[in-house]
Symmetry: C2
Subunit: 358 residues, 2 copies
Amino acid sequence: MIESPVSTAPRTAATETRRTPAHAGMPVPRGVLHARLLLPPALTYCIDRLEPRLRDMCGYQLGVHDEHGHPTGSAHGKLIRPAFALLCAKACGGELVDAVPAAVAVELVHNASLVHDDIMDGDRERRHRPTVWARYGIPMAILAGDAMFALAFEALGTPERRPADHHLARTLRELMAGQSRDLRFERLGAPSIGECIDMIEGKTGALLGSACRLGALYGSAPTPVAEAFGRFGLDLGVAFQLLDDLLGIWGDPKATGKPVGSDLQARKKSAPVVAALTAGRAASRRLAELYQTSGPFETGQLVLAAELIDAAGGRAWAREEARRRIDAAWQHLAAVDIPGEARNDLEELTTFLIDREW
Amino acid sequence: MIESPVSTAPRTAATETRRTPAHAGMPVPRGVLHARLLLPPALTYCIDRLEPRLRDMCGYQLGVHDEHGHPTGSAHGKLIRPAFALLCAKACGGELVDAVPAAVAVELVHNASLVHDDIMDGDRERRHRPTVWARYGIPMAILAGDAMFALAFEALGTPERRPADHHLARTLRELMAGQSRDLRFERLGAPSIGECIDMIEGKTGALLGSACRLGALYGSAPTPVAEAFGRFGLDLGVAFQLLDDLLGIWGDPKATGKPVGSDLQARKKSAPVVAALTAGRAASRRLAELYQTSGPFETGQLVLAAELIDAAGGRAWAREEARRRIDAAWQHLAAVDIPGEARNDLEELTTFLIDREW
């Protein structure tokens, strides 16, 4: 795994003492705990509006239902996006609960995208269970994704209560653009590093940006402050994806839950790979030749590919860019007066997002 | 084809003189002409925000681009839903252009559903051209549908300008429920007639209801009036679908563009068929036996199926229910004071919707 490549910019005493050394056994951040309490009932309330079969499918995807349709009292995943939405509301002087509609909306959009992406990518398994399409068929899975997109807008509340679903629509459009680029990269040759960053901004940055922007708006932030939170989330999201790409190559399988070098095995054109391929070095050319071979890599080839990416500077570039994005994220909030406890929670959650091996 | 089964409730001198006898050669209603002028530039403006490949796909679906990506200056289809949105704004004292965001939103939702439905149903052709998935592949087609859903919400404008996208989200949910029921009916035995009507309300009624409700809202109607327009559109949509189902069995192939009895050939459980199957008559049982056979029907069997549906009362039921819905539609607007010209246009468009052979 990568050796603590980056840290959040403004480290305070509070976050220092809460952190355990070297990632392992990191306590669950308060933002995630809040999300775990607030999201399952709110998500359940939303999907209960659906036609029964769609409700069961969406409940299965979200994890608020088990595979028999029974309530679990919890939800799948780390609920990172909802946690950011809640904390950004608090950082703007609002209450956590003010941002529940925003938190629910981003979690629904995230899961709708996952359902559709799994169809597009032909992935049959997610979180050790069959994906929605693998279980219910492609037609119903398309519909379940559509239904969650619709619920996301509905979740934002009545027009009087809703400051900014226009932003959510824009976010969706950016998500689609990111996924469109990703699908194209898989078919075509290597993209430029700029195209790769565009794709990451769409696929990962836009929704985390939306979580932070909507959270701030629901916490009654004025528009310029909400926009600053949106940029904060966008940069964090890009940093997160870059670190995720590093873990996909050098991550410990015990921690990532994926086989060693799984992204390499899939010949994935992730950002470190693209940076290496386009660096114009000798290692770049050797990596390109290796990537053009077909059939599964042997262990020696996996090790060689990782070494070539490193030698061509792809690893250093991704680390540096992630670090730069994290600094930039906090810079966006430099002029915002965030209450002490809310700032601590936000820093803790950011650290959790960045320094992770889950 | 069916012999003028219904007519719109309040027939005025203006609509009488504009109608040509027995459907044929009916002039294009003014509402549709308005939509043809206003929609193509507005739709083009919307899709120009998309990533280029998605823009081309959505332009192809909407018909504002040809298959080479060149602007056509027009849009596909009759633009019935946008036409209703525009006219309902005018009926509420607003200007036609006030409702362009609403008209664009419903047309985008309609086309997004078509793109996804074509994948679900495996349909490779629409409007004599390859469907989006048949041309661009399923992954990109899923994404293009998603993008149009997102654009629909974005089209409604900034929060200040947007009275009611909550309704659009609810409409989407109802659409998904209708499609979910439809997919289930195809797999399972005959639904009850109530389930069938629920499905029609979702698949066809909800979006026409939304067109009328949003159009009224963008025409500055107070909420109760907008709700009345919504119910007007819902009932008209159901009537339209019932008549469409009758045309699917008894329609003239020259007028419908489909082969004789195409719905029967597909063993479609449309409303007249379900009404016949569940009528408990001798003809109901014979129809059920005929529907359970496999393989294509011979001409004699097609004729027999249509006769059995008629004998079991399915045809009369669908006509009667359509007539009842049209009366109910206008009843919803009985208390609304609609200016004369706007009322004439709305009646003309309604007549066009109902008395058609397109």
